[in-house]
Every structure is written in C-alpha cells, then in structure tokens.
Amino acid sequence: MTPDDAQTSLEDIRGLQDRTRDAYVRHGFSRPYALASALVLFIAFASFDLPAHWDTLAVTSGVGLALGLLVVHQHRAPVRRKPTGPELLFCAGVAVGLVAAYVTFSVAAVVAHLKLGLPAPHAVAAAALALTTLLCTNPARRVFESIVRR
C-alpha cells in the first residue's frame, strides 16, 4: 500500500459517503413528496373556511394523508438513517417558518376579505402557503444538504 494508493482510497471513501448522503437528501426532497406535502398543507389549512364537522373531516383527511405519505416515503427510501440533532432542528425551523408564513398569509387574506370581499380567505392563505412550500423546496434542500454533509 503506497501513500498515493491510500490517498486515493480515502478520496473514494469520501466520495461514496457523499453519494449515500446525497441519496438520503434527494429522496427526502423528491418532487412527488414535495407536491404531496404541499397538497396536505393546503387541505389542512384551507379547512378553516369550512363549516363545523366538515373542517374536522378535512383536517383528519389531511393528517391521514400526511401519515400515509410518511409511511410510504420511509418504506421507499434507498437510504435510511435517524435524523441528527441539527437535522431535527432544521425540520423544526421549517415547521415554525410554515406556521409563521400561514399566519402572515391568513392576516393578509382576512384583511382582503373584510376590505375587498375576498372569498374563502383561509383557502387563499393555504394556497399561498402550498405555493411557498413548493418554491422553497429547492433552497431548503440545499440548506439541508449542507447540514447532512457537515
């Protein structure tokens, strides 16, 4: 084993480990799951415009869809690993960011409802949130990738 061979082996190891991490990130942020997540968010948050009982049904459907999505997502993952502390912090930050975005969109939509007669303000806010989720998927993926590679 020459030092050059050892160096090549170390570079190969590093490259292969990055391939595993990339597969983990790629699967987590894949387009079907991003679309499905946006749909679940829309269903859950738009339900506030529905009358009693129907809103419960919509939220239950949204949560059921989310759980089903999570199970399928986990089953199809080529790479499985427990999330690290920084990864969980990132997910918590994303959740807080989504709630903050929804509150902001809701306030704007309710104001537009009162002043301009915008119908179904929560559905509009939920649609804006779903769109924001889709638009933020790629930037969030890049941040998550850098966390995973650390």
Partner: protein
C-alpha cells in the same frame, strides 16, 4: 504496513460497500448495486463475505408486493471501517501528503 490496515476490507468492492453504509442506518441493496456499478450476484457475494465476517447484517422485507433487501453496518463493521480509514489516513500523513481525514463514521 499499518497494523490497523485490514486486508480483508481493502478489497475495492468491500471497501466501497462499507463506505456507502457508514453514513446510514440501512441502505437498500439496489442502491449499493447501482452506485458501485456491479451485478446482483457480484454484490451478493461480497455482502455475504462481509456478513460472514460480522461486518454487515442483511434484512429482507416486502414493500407493496416488491421484495427489498437492506444492508446495515454492524457495530463490529463500523469499528473495523473506522480503524481501516484511520490507518489509511496515517499512511498518507506519514508520507507528508495532503490528507483530509474522512469522517467514515458520520
């Protein structure tokens, strides 16, 4: 030669398998095969050798009618891999070559 250098592990296919497994809990067989660019039978042979040495464990499951095989690095395998990577790093460092020590256990 470094005392922690593991001749058994340094077979390229085996080292590649362990390098791919190290950052994960479980890795799907198909992902290993495609990434290493080998055949099912060649990969099975190497995975069996690693399993017999106690370095990996294999689990088969059925996902919506599709059979899937997952491979995991055992604690013994992780230790062996760490020792081997550290030995490689020392060989490089002893020669004064620029070496960024990998984090094979991360």
């Amino acid at each position: 030669m470094e005392q922690d250098f593991d001749e058994f592990l340094h077979v390229p296919a085996r080292l590649s398998i362990l390098a791919l497994l190290a950052p994960a809990d479980w890795v799907e067989f198909g992902f290993l095969r495609d990434t290493i660019a080998t055949s099912d039978s060649a990969l099975s042979k190497q995975v069996s050798a690693l399993a017999n040495a106690g370095y990996v464990s294999v689990r088969k499951s059925r996902d919506m009618g599709t059979r899937r095989t997952y491979v995991q690095l055992t604690a013994q395998g992780r230790q062996a891999f760490q020792r081997h990577a550290a030995a490689l790093s020392r060989i490089v460092a002893a020669a004064g070559l620029p070496a960024e020590t990998p984090q094979p256990w991360a």
